[in-house]
Amino acid sequence: MNAILIMALGAALLGVALRYVPVKRKVDEAVLAEQIDALLPQTQCGQCGYPGCKPYATAIAKGEADINQCPPGGTDGIHKLAELLGRKFKPLNTEHGVEKPKAVAFIDEAVCIGCTLCIQACPVDAIVGAAKQMHTIIAPLCTGCELCVPPCPVDCISMLPVAVSVDTWKWQYPVFEIKPAATTATATKQQSA
């Protein structure tokens, strides 16, 4: 009986201690922002509501923004942020957009008038061209942020999904098949159920 009492008391004390000892992980905000920025996809698309990945990272570090505002980062990205910050995962906030397969911008060069507006909009200098010359996208550099699409006065920019190539193809998760339909008893029971 005494033993049980002692154990219960110990557990209660530890519980109280855990609740009230503040787990202060004093991390410098700037350092934290760097760490967060390293996890963001660097599309610089602004869908999170901030003018770029770094500002969003800073806002998260300051506690002003939530971790689920980055559609290009997607679920994977939120998981990474949650792990870094020791927070709970939450699904992507659809106010900021939805997760899409990666795409790159494509300029229809026959239509392009050479206005340079898209060049000014591109955050990563992935468009080449000069005034009154047609522009083109350097596809390997394009992050797919879509920022060049709205400024185009002639709507000649479209987003094309990136095709999987032999070099970027991924092996699938092996099918984990542990319930073969052939096993008689369970299978029939499941079917009837």
């Binding site: 099918v175 098949e177 542990i178 319930k179 073969p180 096993t183 008689t184 008893a185 369970t186």
Partner: protein, 284 residues
């Protein structure tokens, strides 16, 4: 259908491994029957029936393929070990309860075959030791009698065959027996009056069974070569300590459970070096 290379497979299966383990128990069982009568066969039958029933019920509840897993033989191995560890003259419900507990609680509550953290047979033994101590400690004489030597010899033969069949490796039995001999022998020489001799340990029912059949359970034990040595050595030392310093007549079950809980850590700390990293590579 996942079907990439390799397209050819060796015929060995979980079922064939388990059947070999069962076969390796036969010499010991034969000696048991010869010296102590056919009572143990009844126990084996009871435990097997209970284990299979428990397994079938849990598989049905968990919606797993029934015949695939019932046929793998792992429940039978658990049942036979329980029957062989428990007193042969105990009440019939003792092994039945133990087998059910082992299969339902220790095995399936943890996720079934391959997922259990603790050896089901030994966990059941410990439970019964705590719940029904009067049945567990009294009937089975822990003293190594003349008869037990023959049973131990049977287990030893079966175990050596298992090593030959590559079902188990030499590491665990060797480390277990060497460590047990060393610690028991050392203390016995030091103070023969207070500590039992080596033969008392080695020739009892449990030592050989433990060395070749219980500690070698791959699911709950250490798996790296070095880790196996530490793991089995740990079981031996704990077994001896429990027997000498504690109230329980036979410590191998508790020792196994304790080392089961250490196995993941042991594995982590004893990862063998990979190809090319055994010696310091030359500078670039």
């Amino acid at each position: 259908m996942s079907n990439h290379a390799p397209y050819i497979r060796q015929p060995a299966s979980v079922r064939s491994i388990m059947l070999k383990v069962l076969a390796a128990l036969l010499p010991g069982i034969a000696a048991y029957v010869w010296w102590f009568g056919a009572g143990v066969l009844v126990q084996i039958a009871l435990a097997s029936a209970a284990a299979l029933a428990g397994e079938a019920a849990m598989l049905a509840l968990r919606r797993k393929p029934l015949w695939l897993f019932l046929g793998d033989g792992s429940a039978l191995v658990t049942a036979w070990l329980i029957a062989l560890c428990f007193p042969a003259d105990g009440p019939w419900w003792l092994v039945v309860a133990a087998a059910l507990f082992a299969i339902v609680a220790v095995k399936h509550f943890f996720g079934g075959l391959g997922r259990n953290a603790f050896n089901p047979a030994m966990a059941a033994y410990c439970l019964m030791l705590v719940v029904t101590p009067q049945w567990m400690s009294e009937s089975q004489s822990p003293v190594a009698g003349q008869e037990w030597q023959w049973v131990a010899l049977g287990y030893l033969l079966g175990g050596l065959w298992l090593i030959r069949q590559r079902v188990i490796t030499w590491h665990i039995p060797t480390a277990f027996l060497v460590a047990l001999t060393a610690i028991a022998g050392g203390f016995h020489v030091f103070n023969p009056a207070a500590y039992a001799g080596v033969e008392f340990y080695l020739l009892s029912n449990s030592a050989m069974l433990g060395a070749f059949f219980i500690a070698t359970d791959p699911v709950t034990g250490a798996t790296t070569p070095r880790g196996k040595l530490f793991y089995a050595g740990g079981i031996a030392v704990l077994t001896w300590s429990i027997r000498e310093f504690d109230i329980y007549p036979d410590g191998i079950a508790l020792a196994t459970l304790l080392m089961n809980s250490c196995a993941p850590l042991i594995d982590r700390c004893t990862q063998p070096p990979v190809f090319g990293n055994k010696i310091e590579p030359p500078a670039a």
